[in-house]
Symmetry: C2
Subunit: 366 residues, 2 copies
Amino acid sequence: MFYAVIPAGGSGTRLWPLSRADRPKFLLALTGTSESLLQATVSRVAPLAGPDRTFVVTGVAHAAAVARQVPRLPDDNIVVEPSRRESCAAIGLAAAIIARREPTAVMGAFSADHVVGDDDRFVEILRAAIAAAEDGQMVAVGITPTYPETGYGYLEAGEPVGSGPARRVLRFKEKPEYDLAVKYVESGRFYWNASMFVWRVDVFLDELARQQPALFAGLTEIAAAWDTEERAAVLDRVWPSLKKISVDFAVMEGAAEKGLVSTVPADFPWNDVGDFSSLGDALSRSATDNVIIGADESVEQGRVMARDTTGSVLVTRTGRLMVTLGLRDVVVVDTADALFVCDRSRAQEVKEVVADLEAESAQQYL
Amino acid sequence: MFYAVIPAGGSGTRLWPLSRADRPKFLLALTGTSESLLQATVSRVAPLAGPDRTFVVTGVAHAAAVARQVPRLPDDNIVVEPSRRESCAAIGLAAAIIARREPTAVMGAFSADHVVGDDDRFVEILRAAIAAAEDGQMVAVGITPTYPETGYGYLEAGEPVGSGPARRVLRFKEKPEYDLAVKYVESGRFYWNASMFVWRVDVFLDELARQQPALFAGLTEIAAAWDTEERAAVLDRVWPSLKKISVDFAVMEGAAEKGLVSTVPADFPWNDVGDFSSLGDALSRSATDNVIIGADESVEQGRVMARDTTGSVLVTRTGRLMVTLGLRDVVVVDTADALFVCDRSRAQEVKEVVADLEAESAQQYL
């Protein structure tokens, strides 16, 4: 039986002014359907893991919104972190809780705010990853790169492992410079690391114990108290002491050195929605397409007239009429209290705008 | 004694969505001060004609707003047209009313929605025009062209007239093609026709009687009843029969053929604010300057952060934050119910947007 674990965190600065501190990316419907990215993630894993075996790990600030967005998940499957401790604590706690239920269960970790372009293909690839994980591999799904992206980490793949599509992961690579990224893509041996991991919980916890013994001990103690009256007291005492570290650094890189990590190459479209330009990439069929993202259900649908406009990302979260004329590769984001207009090539720099608003304590816009 | 006549009409389509049917351009503060274009026009002529000798001619739709914007003008100086009859009827009625008061008065006609960049120089030039008018000339102020604009009509000037700067106007020229406009500008003999006319009312009315006898008869009948109890009844009966024609076509072209028209060359910056791009031209010191136009007094000032943005016209009529990033030569107009984003070179095409909204009866946006 397979379990899905969905860490749902994030600061909401890269899709400002659409995403805010109280409306992070994973709560927003960004893909042209009424589903938020979180809801789409839960739907995507549903053929593999039903609601009882799907966990969302989120912070106190978003617990209520998450619980309401995924009403079919049992209360206990919404794991609320008292404070942010990065992905290893979040995923590790879920793994430890699952291990007490089913010690050799296979689980997968899936970010709540990424976009996948082909859910059927996703399920096929995941089935192969699950098969490799049942054999004891720690699987990092490797997205086949379609261009030399410098904003993602890469996996370097080696010889095949087992009888399926899995290949050994020789090492994890940091975000490369452009020239190196070009070489990676040309080699055919490198894959994007989507931080999408599949493993048996016992295999993962053994590696966690070996590489991060204090973190392992803390998470084990919390998991032991999870289904008791002591949960809150133990969380309160232990959680603040846990190390802030990503699961990539904490466990996966060391496990790869020991030869425990493999990858299953994945050819479905995937995007981490790092900014409005990449959101456009994820949703458009061509570089000249416009991507128009309408209001969510709580707001009257805004109307967009895009005249002689190409390659642009137009987001309307108000009931207003938006007219664009003669634009190329522009991002327009229309929200109730803030308007953002930007050349698409500069979309990443919105984080500097947010940093400046933070510096001047312009809380109403954060 | 000099009289100023200010026709205040216009459909409000060229500065959409800022200008609307109920908020035409002349009622808007567009020049970075709190004065509307109409108020700025009244202020500009004040050194030549005080409130008692300044008339505004406007339609029923805008009479109340006009009256409130220029409270120092006597009630009777707000001339309200029952229906739109183009500029000859509007200006001619004012001329006829003034003539009954002072038969040889000099009057000038000044559009309510143009921008002049140097009010002191404007007054100097007008004094020269008034002097020529006192000698019986019909004066069309000729703006010295600074580039080959194809959106304006031109005046072709000939030999000097009298001892001042006035020159004979040989003929009026329609809006030229670009190549011809270049020749006009290079010749030094052509000026932009700003439809800014100065004449003795008796000279004008004589020409009107000669060229447009029916229109002259109608306007004279209305003016005769103006200060009587019959005003409303006569207006109601006569006004609808008046010819719809501009004063340029109705009178000035024919008067030029008779040698009655001269021009006083004017070197003050002038712009008819035909679209947001020309508004930017009128208000910026260089092609890379941004022009930022804030909210009017009835709306909380919107805040604009223009980051690495040049040559752009940014208009905010809401209390929202506007952030632009990496834009070149873009128009952004943010109003309560509609947002317009456009490449600056395409600003004129907004009239096609408005035409399409009209065609589908989207009244709320007109």
